[in-house]
Amino acid sequence: MAKSSDIPFARDSSSFFISWISMLMVFIATLILATALITHDSVKNWHKDIAGSLTVQIPSYDSDGKKRGELLQSDTETALTIIRSADGVLGATVLSDAQMDSLMAPWLGEHITTTELPLPKLIDVTIDTKNLPDLNQIKADLSEQVPMAILDSHRIALSKLITLAQNIIRLVGIVLILILISLAFSIMFVTKSGLKVHRKVISLIHMMGASDFYITRQFANRSFYLTLIGGIIGFLIALPVMMFFAYYLNNLTGSFILNATLTHEQWGILTCIPVLTATLSYLTAFKTVWGDLKRSL
């Protein structure tokens, strides 16, 4: 369509502003969303690590090397009660002597029974992977009543990381929403000023019988394209920045903790950002003009 627009948009400087602001917004949104996606993947991996069983040890000797005997038994009971009562724990059992034997067999051989050895009591805790227990709380409760109990600390660290990561993802969500809101506000103000600047032309084509949709569409289309162009540029600028960070992170952590690569689906989500912001821009401009025209005769 070689048809030029009825409204002389080319002559107002707001075009540049729309593209510029959407470039900036999409740039930031792409970077933080990529961060969130990578974090989300890592959280999934950490969940897998944490999943299944967790072990709590009750040592059979106290710190000055004395055998604890009956105390060991009561400590184990208390620990079991604490662990079982925690939210997200599906079950907890003390490993039987037979289980201990088979566990130790690779090291000690079949013929030695573990009852002869000063082995700690092991409590096998099955946890709900969908509703992870608060390991820190369990640890705190245990250390109060069973100071000797040892909780797998790798898991605690991981569960702390998971909490941190989940908060980061939440924060990203909030920032994304703020970005979209401020973009919508910018578009609204630019559109409003456009309506003022072009009031005479609008009223003229209105008098010629142009429907509200005819006029509104021109504003909305313009907003869409300007935002899309700015957004694509912002996205393209974000790419090398992301690649640099991915390279840097993978080198730093050896991809053990973080695996800073994106799947195809995640790339798909990221490329949606310019389209989404452009659509938001279309809808905002549409709503702004539509509402304004309703007030005209």
């Binding site: 005479k200 032309v201 010629m208 142009a210 005769l297």
Partner: protein
């Protein structure tokens, strides 16, 4: 049957219409007016009499402050937005100050009502070129309004008002900037349109035109409207 029925209902009916701008004094007072389909009227009155203001009521530039205006049989104060747009598409307006779009060339300015009405580009091309040739602007198709003379702009404004063959043509001083020969030529364009059924109201100060064409006059003075039939008056003198 339907066609005849449609033709017999008035294009515009003003009933006790008064109008003022904001809190200003009343410019139009108790106007009683019926425009029959296919009629041709001049609107006269001295400068400031309210011709432009009265014409504005025909294309719903503003609503009356009192009384009721009916267009094509419908009371304008009860129309939905879509209905208003639909009615406006059947009305061609030549504005006293032309109101051409400076960022569009002559061709696109004239094509505007057709585009608004959703006419196909191939048809637009044919109609617009033809009409611009008729008003003597075939060489200025690509010219932008600021590059044109007052008379040329006026002819583009007229072409734009008639391109869509409106049911009602409202022209505010459409020949103020052209010589008498061109004014007559433009009037013949309106006459052609009138023969095809368009109802026409032309506000003008040009006594030569009024005398030459002898159409009924709607004359405004002190906010009141009176009809003058030049033939009857001449006979009487």
């Amino acid at each position: 049957m339907f066609e005849k029925n449609k033709l017999s209902s008035p294009i515009a009916e003003f009933n006790g219409v008064s109008f003022r701008y904001g809190h200003g004094s009343e410019i139009l007072k108790d106007i009683q007016l019926t425009l029959d389909p296919g009629s041709f009227h001049f609107m006269t009155g001295e400068s400031g009499a309210g011709k432009t203001s009265l014409l504005g009521l025909f294309y719903m530039n503003h609503l009356p402050t009192r009384g009721r205006v009916r267009l094509f049989g419908k009371a304008v104060d009860t129309l939905s937005r879509a209905e208003k747009a639909q009615i406006r598409r059947q009305i061609g307006v030549v504005f006293q100050d032309y109101r051409l779009l400076n960022h569009l060339n002559a061709f696109d300015n004239v094509a505007l009502p057709l585009r608004i009405a959703g006419v196909k580009e191939t048809e637009i091309k044919r109609h617009v070129s033809e009409l611009l040739a008729w008003v003597g602007l075939e060489k200025q198709l690509k010219a932008f309004p600021p590059e044109l003379s007052g008379g040329e702009k006026q002819r583009i404004a007229i072409a734009r008002a008639v391109i869509n063959r409106p049911q009602l043509l409202v022209a505010d001083e459409p020949t103020g900037n052209v010589d008498d020969a061109m004014a007559k030529r433009l009037l013949y364009l309106f006459l052609e349109l009138n023969k095809l059924g368009t109802t026409i109201v032309i506000a003008t100060h040009n006594q030569n035109l009024i005398k030459h064409f002898r159409f009924d006059q709607l004359h405004l003075s002190h906010g009141r409207l009176e009809r003058i039939n030049p033939n009857i008056r001449n006979n009487g003198q």
